[in-house]
Symmetry: C2
C-alpha cells in the first residue's frame, strides 16, 4: 500500500513532506482535503491528526502528523536510498543537521509564518495588510538571514557541504516569499541567494513549486 499524504499541495507543510518523498524516490499518493467544508477539523481526519491541520500521513498502519516529524520518519525509513537527508551514519554530522533544522523551526519559521499570513491569508479573507506586522517580521527575518549569510559563506548548505533536511524544510516558505515584495530579503544576500538558487532548482523543489502554482487560489492578486 502506497504512502498517503493527506492535504492540499498548496500547503507549505504538505510541500515539505512531498519534497522529502521526492528526494527519496518513494511512491506516494496525495489525498485532497476539502478546506471549504473544514474536513480537517472533523472526524475521520482528526483521528489522523488530532490538531486538525494538514498534512496527515499514513504508511500502512502507522499514522503521523507534523510535517517535520514525517520528513524525519521518511528519511530514517529510507536511510540508504535517495539523498542522505539526516547524515545518520555520523553522530556529529547528524547533530549539526538537527541544530539547523531547529534554527528553521525556531528562528526562521516564526517571522516567515507572519509574512505568509499577511501576504496571502489576509487578502484571501479580504483583510488589509498590517504594515507594522510586515515591517517587524521582515526585520526579524532579515536578522535570521544575516546569520545564514555568514554560515553559507563558509559552507555550501546549512549543515555543511551537503544538502539535508535542514535546507529542505525552508523551501516551501521561500517559494511563497518570492511571490511577495520581500523577495529581496533573499536576493540581497549573495550567499543566501546562491543557496536558494541551488536548492530551489532541485527536481524535488520544482515538483512542489508546480504544485503550489497549479492549485493556488491564494496567489491570485498577490503577484
Amino acid at each position: 500500500m502506497a504512502i498517503k499524504v493527506h492535504g492540499s499541495r498548496i500547503s507549505t507543510c504538505v510541500g515539505r513532506v512531498i519534497a522529502c518523498l521526492e528526494e527519496k524516490g518513494v511512491e506516494y499518493e496525495v489525498v485532497p482535503v476539502d478546506y471549504v467544508t473544514s474536513e480537517h477539523k472533523q472526524q475521520p481526519f482528526l483521528s489522523l491528526n488530532p490538531f486538525g491541520q494538514v498534512p496527515a500521513f499514513e504508511d500502512g498502519d502507522l499514522t503521523l502528523f507534523e510535517s517535520r516529524a514525517i520528513t524525519r520518519y521518511v528519511s530514517r525509513k529510507y536511510k540508504d536510498i535517495g539523498t542522505d537527508l539526516l547524515r545518520l551514519n555520523n553522530l556529529a554530522e547528524s547533530a549539526i543537521v538537527d541544530a539547523w533544522m531547529e534554527a528553521e523551526a525556531h528562528q526562521f519559521n516564526g517571522p516567515m509564518k507572519v509574512l505568509i499570513y499577511q501576504f496571502f491569508i489576509r487578502p484571501f479573507h479580504h483583510l488589509a495588510l498590517e504594515e507594522q506586522e510586515v515591517e517587524t517580521n521582515s526585520e526579524k527575518l532579515g536578522k535570521v538571514l544575516e546569520i545564514y549569510e555568514e554560515r553559507l559563506s563558509k559552507y555550501k548548505y546549512l549543515a555543511g557541504d551537503y544538502f539535508t533536511l535542514a535546507d529542505l524544510h525552508h523551501i516551501p516558505f521561500i517559494f511563497y516569499l518570492f511571490k511577495t515584495p520581500k523577495a529581496y530579503l533573499i536576493t540581497s544576500r549573495p550567499h543566501v541567494n546562491a543557496w536558494w538558487n541551488d536548492i530551489s532548482s532541485r527536481p524535488s523543489s520544482i515538483k512542489i513549486s508546480e504544485g503550489f502554482d497549479k492549485e493556488n487560489s491564494f496567489l491570485k492578486g498577490n503577484q
Copy 2:
C-alpha cells in the same frame, strides 16, 4: 573533558538540556553566561551559538545550539544508557516520539512563550501585563491541552506508555506556568494533571526545578 552547557539555570531552554543529561546520568558542567553585560550577544559566545541565545553546548570539538537539537544529540550518543528517550530501536515508536516532540515545538511552545513573557519578562522590565495577550494565549494553550487530555486518557505519556523527550521538552515551561495564575490550565484536566504529577516528580525534573528557584530573580513578585 566534560560536556559544557553554557547558560543560566533559570533558562527554560537550558533546563531542557540539563533534564536530558540528568536522565542519561552523564557528567556535565554549567558555564554561567552574564546576561547583564549581554555576554551571549558577543564573541566568543556567538561562535558557539550564532543566534546569541542560551544554551550553547560543547562536547569536545563539537559545538551545538538549539536545546531540542542538543537533547536529540545527547539521547543518540547515550542511546543505551539511562532512560530510552527517543525509542530508536523501533522505527514506528521513534516516529511517534518525533510527532509529539513537534507538537510541543509547534503547538504548545507558541502560546506558552507568550505567557512566560507576560508573567515574568515584562514585570522584570517594569512593564504591565497585557490582559488581551494573556487571555488569547491562555485560550490557545487550553485548546492544545485539551488534545493532550484526550491523548493522555489513552496512554500514560504523550508518545505511548513510556517517558520520552516528547514529555521532557514540556517540563521547564510547565514549572514556570505553575508560578502564574494559569496553573489551572493543567490542574483542571485530570489526565494532563496526572501526567504532570508523574513527570515533574522525576529526579531530573526536581533538579531543574531547584535550579529555577535558586537563581531566579524573575520569580520575585510573581508568586
